[in-house]
Symmetry: C2
């Protein structure tokens, strides 16, 4: 069944947006909801809105909605902070679960911030921890009984390569390691059965496929049977069992609520809540089929019409997430030229042109039209224009 | 000179808002700015807005504006995350600066989340750290050469008692300790000369006196001469020297930018940016004088008209921040009755009725009128109504 629902988004005229994997587009209703939160709730209710407008409940309510998209039970997902913070929380808790081990295993395809956060945590603890980051294809092999935690991003941010969540989690558990999945490029992109995988932790962000807006809050899943044993490293008052009792000592809240930290970003959460409306009734199997059809069509079109580009994603559609990358030495300039012509993808160093496929608002006609413009950019070498040669952009 | 500028805020009819110390009111222009960010920037520019709409610069720009309100130089304040996260960052960095010491000194009047975060950090490091929390008046005495870090909230969230920032910082340095100030109830409330104090770190939130809205981002100041030596514990990609180089190893950004962590909450930052407009041209000395006049008048009126209440704040106006608290056994119920009658303060366990004085939008007529209604509540024992006896509110 089609999952296309372009009418639920504000998509600018003349733009084909193949970057919903980086920042999802604006869902209809978001500006009205933000205005209501600001004018009616904040402006009219002031401090009372924490109760009267349901602000206190918002993080949990939004968490439950995200849970439904990643195969997690209600109450097992906490929202707030940024993905990097959630990585730190998960890793810190995971290391405490294996106090006698000293190795964090990730891979060299992981998003750098995940590796940086591991590094910061290891330096903070300062007890001889080691971070190993082999190539993604060597990860399974590298899971040994030395490993305390396996921390991987499910879908590679550059290539779109998909790790086998079930198999790697099983291997981690076989070796006695704790599993942390980063679902940044998975939530809303591919079917995820996080509970079924048995992984102890998962983290993710909501501004990509979930369309929560710039700087939308992150989330963390904790497997229900392990959460009660966790003393959070980032033990903030809103993860306390009774925040307003103002006790001097920390007592973790029940369930994954203990992974909350400080005062929640109400405006961002409210907008994310609207964005999640677009996911109501979407069957993730249908979404996956649509995504694969789009990416297969894209690859076929590009390979037929743009010979200068080299596929940098797995050719097997089952081994990819919902993005496709092509390598091109002049990729930065070519992407700027393409964006100038209304086809928005993005560039990742050193040479990756990245395109995301988001079947809620992209269809095959978009894909074919986008490749037509890409072919014009490449055939005409339009990327040679001086304005595309300077790296002025920061993203 | 008067700092009153009620016209810059949307204040509901029939409400006297004495809780701007908890959640500041809605600044005019906030809803328009949010709409612009959402519709024009996010909706129209999509991912390009990180550059074209200045989103990448926003955290630093807002940080510089806050710096101006706390006596910090431009470039020394980073924004983002929540206050609890910023406490953790400051504490973790401070402990690394005194690796041979094992004591964190705070006080029992500190906001509980600061103590909880210290606890979480100590448990994460797990090397015999100790948190000492004597009574606020005993802190100076408790600063010994065992102390690695003194971490205090400048203005007590319950009583409004003000620590002597210069004297305590000097004492901490004399004993070789690092100083961390929490300015949650100071920024926008009292004059702060953080650079002049010599403190290494300060943190704060922006949803109280700065009026940034529910869940507005926090900030952290680092003294410029120590920042280059810091390897942040929360080493996220946006604190990296070159986030988009996607290097596998972390290299801290120049200056306090390294205390940034993940993707910034653009909607919240944009609204905070509008809120800071209300501070343009405000002389903090004038603000302090106005705040003291309001609180003195409030105390005098309450003591004349509400004999059941007992002052729980310092009587000396120089020893208070910009709030006044009164103890009353039925304080919770009385505050609910008062709020129902349009005078909004708040309650802090076990028995504190708390009132904030925010001279940008509160004047003496408001104070006198508020006490009149408070006296009615108390004289008529209106708080006895059953609906005020149940603790249904969470804040």
């Amino acid at each position: 069944m089609s999952v296309l629902r372009k009418e639920m988004f504000e998509l600018p005229e003349g733009v084909i947006y193949l970057d919903g994997n980086s920042l999802g587009p604006l869902p209809k209703g978001a500006v009205q909801r933000a205005a209501r939160v600001i004018e009616t709730e904040w402006g009219g209710e002031l401090i009372r809105a924490w109760n009267s407008a349901g602000w206190m409940e918002l993080p949990r309510r939004v968490g439950d909605r995200i849970a439904g998209l990643i195969g997690a039970p209600a109450g097992s997902v906490a929202t707030g902070d940024t993905l990097s913070i959630k990585v730190y929380q998960a890793l810190a808790a995971a290391l405490k679960m294996r106090p006698e081990r000293r190795v964090i295993l990730s891979d060299s395809g992981n998003f750098p911030s995940d590796l940086y956060m591991a590094d910061g945590l290891m330096r903070t603890i300062d007890k001889g921890y080691e971070l190993r980051s082999p190539a993604p294809e060597d990860v399974a092999e590298a899971i040994t009984e030395e490993v305390a935690v396996v921390m991987l991003t499910h879908v590679d941010y550059r290539s779109g390569r998909l790790h086998d969540m079930a198999a790697i989690t099983a291997r981690a558990h076989e070796m006695g390691a704790v599993m942390v999945w980063d679902l940044a490029h998975s939530a809303g992109a591919v079917p995820v059965d996080i509970a079924g995988s048995g992984a102890e932790f998962a983290v993710g962000c909501s501004y990509k496929y979930l369309n929560g807006g710039p700087g939308a809050p992150a989330f963390i899943y904790v497997r229900p049977d392990v959460v009660e044993g966790i003393q959070p490293a980032l033990s903030g008052w809103l993860g306390h069992e009774a925040p307003f009792a103002m006790e001097l000592g920390y007592r973790p809240a029940m369930s994954t609520e203990r992974m909350r930290v400080g005062t929640p970003p109400i405006l961002q959460l409210a907008v994310l809540d609207v964005a999640l409306d677009a996911w109501e009734g979407v069957d993730m199997g249908d979404l996956r089929a649509a995504s694969q059809a789009l990416s297969e069509r894209f690859i076929a079109e590009v390979e037929a019409r743009c010979p200068a580009l080299e596929l940098a994603s797995p050719r097997d559609k089952h081994a990819r997430g919902s993005q496709v990358s092509f390598g091109f030495a002049q990729g930065y300039a070519a992407m700027q030229a393409l964006i100038d012509r209304g086809v928005i993808g993005d560039f990742r160093a050193p040479n990756i042109m990245r395109f995301g496929f988001t079947p809620l608002f992209i269809d095959e006609a978009d894909v074919v039209a986008a490749v037509g413009i890409l072919a014009e950019v490449l055939d005409g070498e339009l990327w040679r224009a001086a304005k595309y040669q300077t790296r002025s952009r920061v993203t």
